[in-house]
């Protein structure tokens, strides 16, 4: 082996080099690493989210038909990076952008439907009073609606592509365009690569005006404590 250093290093030298080396290393590495990993620290350590946690209006419950889900497009305000609203408010006279960034998702809402053993749709639990009135529901009617509604994210449980309702031979199902994941009208897993059923919204409610409201966040079937989906 090649002799790199002729003079053996003394203990105090070693400690001195180690100490100075540690300080220099920290000075050189911590700022750039923290700079780049800022969002990871913000999300995973501080537990903050870029997505607005407020209620978002989805649409009228009475528009959802029996046996067919209805899709509503919603936009969650996003305060990410330079899209942070507080930056825009802080300096009103500077040439800043007023662009509001949003996270655009779709909500699939459907009535809970039983399936016959042969796979065709059976009993649909759509409250019958919805044919008469579209708003001004009483508390008991809201309870009735909420009990029977599926509020699903359109994000496929496999790799996050947006699923569509596709009708083939009279029977409809959710189909993911990316890798062919299949779900039934309740969002339950039917076939393809997804490991579980579609994500249900965790917090949602129907109000007296007959409209559905959601907050961002999902229940993941078979893993209620899971932190996925990361990408929606």
């Amino acid at each position: 082996m090649t002799e790199l250093q002729k003079d053996p290093i003394t203990r105090s030298d070693f400690l001195g080099f180690g100490f100075i080396g540690a300080i220099m290393g920290a000075i050189l590495t911590i700022p750039p690493v923290a700079f780049v990993l800022g969002p990871v620290i913000k999300t995973d350590v501080l537990g903050k989210s870029d997505i607005s946690k407020g209620w978002q209006e989805v649409g009228k419950v009475s528009e959802i038909k029996a046996g067919e889900p209805k899709d509503f497009t919603i936009e969650f305000p996003l305060t990410q990076s330079y899209g942070d609203k507080s930056i825009q408010e802080k300096a009103p006279s500077s040439p800043r952008s007023n662009k509001q960034f949003t996270l655009r998702n779709a909500v699939w809402a459907s009535w809970k439907t039983k399936y016959k053993p042969n796979g065709s749709q059976g009993k649909v639990s759509r409250p019958s009073f919805l044919d008469q009135k579209t708003e001004g529901f009483s508390q008991s009617e809201i309870k009735e609606i909420e009990k029977n509604l599926n509020v699903l994210s359109n994000s496929c449980a496999h790799l996050g592509c947006p699923v569509r309702w596709v009708i083939t031979e009279g029977e409809g199902e959710f189909l993911c365009p990316c890798h062919g994941g299949l779900y039934d009208i309740n969002g339950d897993y039917q076939g393809g690569p997804p490991p579980r059923g579609m994500y249900h919204y965790k917090t949602w409610e129907v109000r007296e005006n007959g409209k559905l409201y959601v907050k961002h966040g999902y229940i993941i079937q078979d893993r209620p404590d899971a932190t996925q989906p990361y990408v929606v």
């Binding site: 969002p39 995973d44 989210s49 969650f76 990076s81 790799l159 592509c161 996925q228 990408v231």
Partner: protein, 274 residues
């Protein structure tokens, strides 16, 4: 007339080349890097690596040009790509080259790897070059992945969502990888900024030194099989070079001193370092 002009030009260029050779050893370096005896059988297969290098150079050049018009913000990225494609002069050509050579690059890398694999080019003493090559492959895949999102159209957007989500399935670090790539917990302006930074600076800056190492190791060990197999051919080449060298020495002894005042012994040029 033309003959005289030509001889004047060639002697002028010879002076420049000699001047550069004495100061920077450029001719020696060029010879060292460009000339390599290869077996006649399947010689075209040895050009696959050069094809990859050429395509990567195209990526660098067209990528730099695209940066003159591209804007990495979610509200203007698509518009700027549209501008490049429809209004900038030759924008379709420049971006087309960037796009198609990127696609072609992946195919060429596949062929290059297959050639090295089937010819056993990864065996001792070239293992390190294979490893560096794999690093280069991963860097190119990273570039392809991050470049896809920059267009900010439906195709690139969903492909990136799928790609990031694949990363989210990694054990233990899935969430961190995802949030690092997203720049938060949702696809938004920070995601595009990051992918832009990674695509335009981080990975190209990382790929350049690895290409250098790859080429250095290639020249150190040669492209093909054992040297003994082709020793005759190499001996012939060395002989040829020696003759050339002698011819030049005789010329300079007879006619003139070194024109550029270089007083070295001239051995720097062809010291037979192979």
């Amino acid at each position: 007339m033309i003959g005289r002009l030509r001889s004047q030009t060639s002697s002028a260029s010879k002076v420049i080349v000699d001047w550069m050779e004495h100061r920077a050893g450029i001719v020696t370096a060029m010879e060292h890097f460009l000339y390599e005896p290869v077996p006649k059988r399947g010689a075209w297969l040895y050009t696959l690596g050069s094809a990859v290098l050429f395509l990567i150079s195209l990526q660098f050049l067209t990528g730099i040009l695209l940066l003159f018009y591209y804007v990495p913000t979610t509200d203007h990225a698509w518009n700027s790509v549209y501008y490049i494609m429809n209004e900038a002069y030759f924008g379709t050509l420049i971006r087309g080259i960037h796009y198609w050579s990127a696609n072609f690059l992946m195919a060429m890398i596949g062929l290059h790897m297959a050639q090295v694999f089937f010819s056993g080019g990864y065996k001792a003493p070239r293992e390190l070059n294979w490893i560096v090559g794999v690093v280069l492959l991963l860097l190119v895949i990273g570039l392809a992945f991050t470049g896809y999102l920059l267009r900010w159209d439906q195709d690139g957007f969903w492909a990136s969502v799928v790609g990031i989500k694949i990363g989210s399935y990694s054990p233990f670090v899935g969430a961190y990888i995802t949030h690092f790539l997203l720049g938060g917990d949702a696809v938004g302006p920070a995601t595009l900024s990051r992918f832009f930074a990674i695509h335009v600076w981080l990975l190209p800056a990382a790929i350049a030194p690895f290409i250098g190492i790859h080429l250095y190791l290639l020249r150190r060990h040669g492209v093909f099989g054992s040297e003994f197999e082709y020793s005759e051919r190499i001996a012939k080449m060395h002989e040829h070079q020696r003759m050339e060298e002698y011819a030049r020495y005789e010329l300079s002894d007879d006619e003139h001193e070194e024109e550029d005042g270089y007083e070295g012994n001239g051995r720097g040029r062809y010291d037979g370092g192979r």
